[in-house]
Symmetry: D2
Subunit: 381 residues, 4 copies
Amino acid sequence: MTAGRRIPLAFVGGGRRSLIGGVHRAAAALSERFALKGGVFGTDPARERARAHALGLDERRIHADLPALFASERALPPGECIEAIAVLTPNHLHFEQVLGALRAGLHVICEKPFTVTAGQADELARVAVANDRLVCVAHTYTGYPMVRQMRALIAAGAIGTVQKIDARYYQGWINPALQDAGSRAAIWRLDPARSGPSCCYGDIGVHAFDLVEYTTGLRVQRVLADLRAMPGAGGLDIDGTTLLRTADGVPGVLRASQVATGEENSVGIAVYGSRGALKWSHDAPAQLIHLREDAPMRVFTPGHAFNEALGRGASQLPPGHPQGLVEAMANLYRGFADALDGDDGAHERFRGIEAGVRGMRFLEAVTESNRGGSVWTEIRE
Amino acid sequence: MTAGRRIPLAFVGGGRRSLIGGVHRAAAALSERFALKGGVFGTDPARERARAHALGLDERRIHADLPALFASERALPPGECIEAIAVLTPNHLHFEQVLGALRAGLHVICEKPFTVTAGQADELARVAVANDRLVCVAHTYTGYPMVRQMRALIAAGAIGTVQKIDARYYQGWINPALQDAGSRAAIWRLDPARSGPSCCYGDIGVHAFDLVEYTTGLRVQRVLADLRAMPGAGGLDIDGTTLLRTADGVPGVLRASQVATGEENSVGIAVYGSRGALKWSHDAPAQLIHLREDAPMRVFTPGHAFNEALGRGASQLPPGHPQGLVEAMANLYRGFADALDGDDGAHERFRGIEAGVRGMRFLEAVTESNRGGSVWTEIRE
Amino acid sequence: MTAGRRIPLAFVGGGRRSLIGGVHRAAAALSERFALKGGVFGTDPARERARAHALGLDERRIHADLPALFASERALPPGECIEAIAVLTPNHLHFEQVLGALRAGLHVICEKPFTVTAGQADELARVAVANDRLVCVAHTYTGYPMVRQMRALIAAGAIGTVQKIDARYYQGWINPALQDAGSRAAIWRLDPARSGPSCCYGDIGVHAFDLVEYTTGLRVQRVLADLRAMPGAGGLDIDGTTLLRTADGVPGVLRASQVATGEENSVGIAVYGSRGALKWSHDAPAQLIHLREDAPMRVFTPGHAFNEALGRGASQLPPGHPQGLVEAMANLYRGFADALDGDDGAHERFRGIEAGVRGMRFLEAVTESNRGGSVWTEIRE
Amino acid sequence: MTAGRRIPLAFVGGGRRSLIGGVHRAAAALSERFALKGGVFGTDPARERARAHALGLDERRIHADLPALFASERALPPGECIEAIAVLTPNHLHFEQVLGALRAGLHVICEKPFTVTAGQADELARVAVANDRLVCVAHTYTGYPMVRQMRALIAAGAIGTVQKIDARYYQGWINPALQDAGSRAAIWRLDPARSGPSCCYGDIGVHAFDLVEYTTGLRVQRVLADLRAMPGAGGLDIDGTTLLRTADGVPGVLRASQVATGEENSVGIAVYGSRGALKWSHDAPAQLIHLREDAPMRVFTPGHAFNEALGRGASQLPPGHPQGLVEAMANLYRGFADALDGDDGAHERFRGIEAGVRGMRFLEAVTESNRGGSVWTEIRE
């Protein structure tokens, strides 16, 4: 019985000053399903040895580039060598790194946006299938217990037929940098060469989009986008509202902004149905609000036996014990580990390469719609 | 010194089963600036006499139609005869009634939407000027102390330059009726003959629009609307998202829905500026949230000496004494009374005919944009 | 059919600068069941005539003292002369004024604390019975729709057997005055000669106590109080916690403070039962929280058809239309009017003289417990 | 430079079904300052080997009792052998186990309540000093960033002189068990032989007490307790309110209940000062509310550069990234690790043996006060 075994894992990126590196390291540890064994963190050998020590890693498994990592690990016995790699580098590097990892026979956890172009995502999907490898795209918010509860309740018909979708990701931390060239230069997301063709939608809009498709189980078919660049943002979008229409004709709106001054990571989604509504916001991530016309508002919280199985399984603690972003990410790691160990049901508990492809095609359509002057544009199927 | 005198007032509409009639009656009483003296409530003489008694009115001042009311009041001595009339009837009647009242030399308080077409609103504006009469359009939400505080803070530069506007009016009460022809028939708003060309935008969208222009002091120049009718709604819009652009190029989004199942009267506005943001929601009307990147969130509440004058003046009670919709409406009545008594500063404390005209031109542009397939459309200046 | 008739009413106190005068005037008007006709507001004849004009009153019905008011009204025909009087003066005047009014055949609405001593309350109760007059004590918070919903749900068994009670009234507005002799002198509540033997418990503690008995339907039998005076408070309590025990042995705690710096009028109550709990707070008066172990939290709001009759009847508006303190007070006025017109069921919709007597006996026991060094003390039956 | 080194750690208790075991394991991993190397988890050898595997531990370092663990570890070279042990067993075992560990030269992390009697805590304090070992008592809530921010703000004078303290720990999960003997038996906290002389105060009351002394920096001098046992609770207190008085005469109230049906882990504290107030609640752990009379309410959140150093240091993530209970516990582990590595300033970042002693003396005084019929009782100095 392999359930619970710790899958050997490496990182590329996620080094010393990386926020996301710390989150993934913590999530892997919390999951108790992966064991970080090595990686490619940087190029300064002395600093890397210090890091190895600080992280409790064997310094021989820390390398200066991916080919060296792959070669070195391949030489280790099965059960010891890494089976998966987490790609935590800036966006423009994802494609080559994921491609290399898949070809090296590794499963991949990749930060979002998955790639720079939708074509790259298509290509990686083909390679993953060809190599029989799995990919997990780090749409962290889908790891929150109440987001999973929301998906399960909608699937169970708790709100009837979906009538209206309203998703949002507002934040403001980039705003001060836009007024200050110095701090701006330190933000790679504002550099098109590293960020790709989109800042706001690539960084946060895709999260909101993924929440729409994950919670409703519906497919967005068309978009109409009104994006906005700002001086200092290298021509990249920094804000934008997108109208949505699902394949079934359900209207929606997706609002994203990085100049929502003072907002922290205010991502959320409301889905209104013929018989009720469900609302979740990262501002109070342990609450799932259920509205109806014929009964008082209900508020679901994690840890209760009466929650849906999908929501219940995402909480490691009893009710009233706050869990945060790292726990949400750990839930993705757990789901991915289960899938790697052959549990087909686990595919609902992480976001696979299909979500990465969908996100990139959404970005493609949004960009095209905006370029055309805010016209309805199909998401490529 | 006339401050505090009670201005004689009549109603047209707002009868026995009218919600809005009760709100206006209460607001007029609370304001202590108007005295309801008579009106046209219905056509059954016996019922009207009973009403006169119940409302403490002289039954001789209750009439079956406006011409009779006007004639009868004109015969009374100045100081006794009505000086103003509140028009509380379904939308399609507003134009003729307001026109008649203005020509009869009365000032007018009118429910929204002001008229059925923008052309009617233009015409009324001309007649009001020609007759030197004032009009107050019942954009009640602008009467809340914290909405006024928001306007004052933005005007004072508290959030710097406006970068982004997000307004909303979500409600769900019509939703059950859409599935039931019987209850549907009882809702005049779902009947195009009485409601005019718009349901959702005419009834609630204009409120959100008015909040945008009232709180920011900016003018919306262009809109792109995506409206949606639903079976059972007589072809009228029941939901819709509208993209906004102000004359200065500030982007915005206005979301309105009457199928936001379970929402009560969830109207609100968030304005993000270069140095901070302000957010208000009717769900917690006594709170005005002030976000900044460089300081903790602040929450303004009514009644404090440190509030801006405009916000301070809208609260009749010390901090911690909840005030509701009727008090907000009473603030409009107070502002209107002050304006009638010659206080020029009072025009910031009620919504005049300009707001009515703006609202109708917004509706006109929204309808046209939507009809054209969601294209950017200018609001007529 | 007298339902809906407007009962002629006078005020004693509640003059020009009185907060509570404005609240009662607005509540009487909103109720549409009382008509303010006259009163004793002050002693300067010119100022009183100006007031009469501002309030739309006949200046002949404004008097300099109660005997003059009573005599003058008695001379008017039935249906015109006042039937009730609202006593809005500082505490030390209540006893004589209520006594006089009852003996003059008037019904009485009286601010709290009802009297200065429990003996006075007992005496007034005897006189009221002897004269067959009704008294309404202004425990305003019992007029909020969700407080009434709470009472009805507990009575209906929604939370099982009550196990624990936690009531609170925290406010901070007096705090700054304690540090400043000048502003202190202007607060009559800090003057024992006018306030009576208690400041914090007399002014706000009794409200919390009344909420306990109103919502649970239980009787508090014993108290243990720990009160605290502060320099500048004239020896009066300004803060205190009281342990409670009901006749059935249910424990409780009542927390009151006027030095809870920054709190506005944070009165609230939580009642925990064997099967659930209900919580209400004035900080969000339109929400009643219902907790259970075996189901998600529910939040009741006013205006819904599924609310209990008692809660439903306290809301004049549909869901989502905020109602405040004045509306709560108006609900007491409505209940009192119905009782005056013979509706026995109305006694659940205002707080009668029994509540006034209970409040004073609670104050008596609290004061005695504290004087004895915080010992368990019976509330006199 | 040893900062960042991973200190070898063992567990006693915290086995398969243990909630708290999982929390400590996750916290140690998240802290990146401790490495779990072995322990005493249970007595079934086969099961223990399986566990070793699942936790990635060397099965030779898993033992059936503490003497075996100590002997085995002592044989390992410095830098490899454990330096600390986390005691996660039921209360009645703490004393012997901590004593053994201290004498074996280990530092100790211990769950609360620290011991069963105050005398035991005194004894352990003496032994710790004699052996020059440090102890960390797991008062997890002091690890939340906003609790630390609260302490720092009060110390910096942000609210002036403390006037009033209100602490609370309400939960309801035991409530259903009280009505059901079967599930009751599974809860060791309801068994006096394992739980010690107190259930509610030992398990959760001490948390609230520790928050009082941690956030205010004041010492509680006297208590007056009103505890309540319930049928099914083995004579143990299941609910109780305690009046507090600090050495400076500041009044306070501490409310604890395990029959607060439907509450999850609603622990919180409000401290009112002469110039402002601070409030924190576990129900929204990322918010610290700052009230003042002369300015709008402010809400501090973690991750901001403008936070106090103590609060800032407790957040590993930027603003808007929720952190939960495990992160709070990890902060204690980090502070403890820093202290073990000689950082004197770290003693503000975990709760040492002094907090354990204070908690037990508080329990001693509470129990005595209650036994005496709720009389003021000194906490032994």
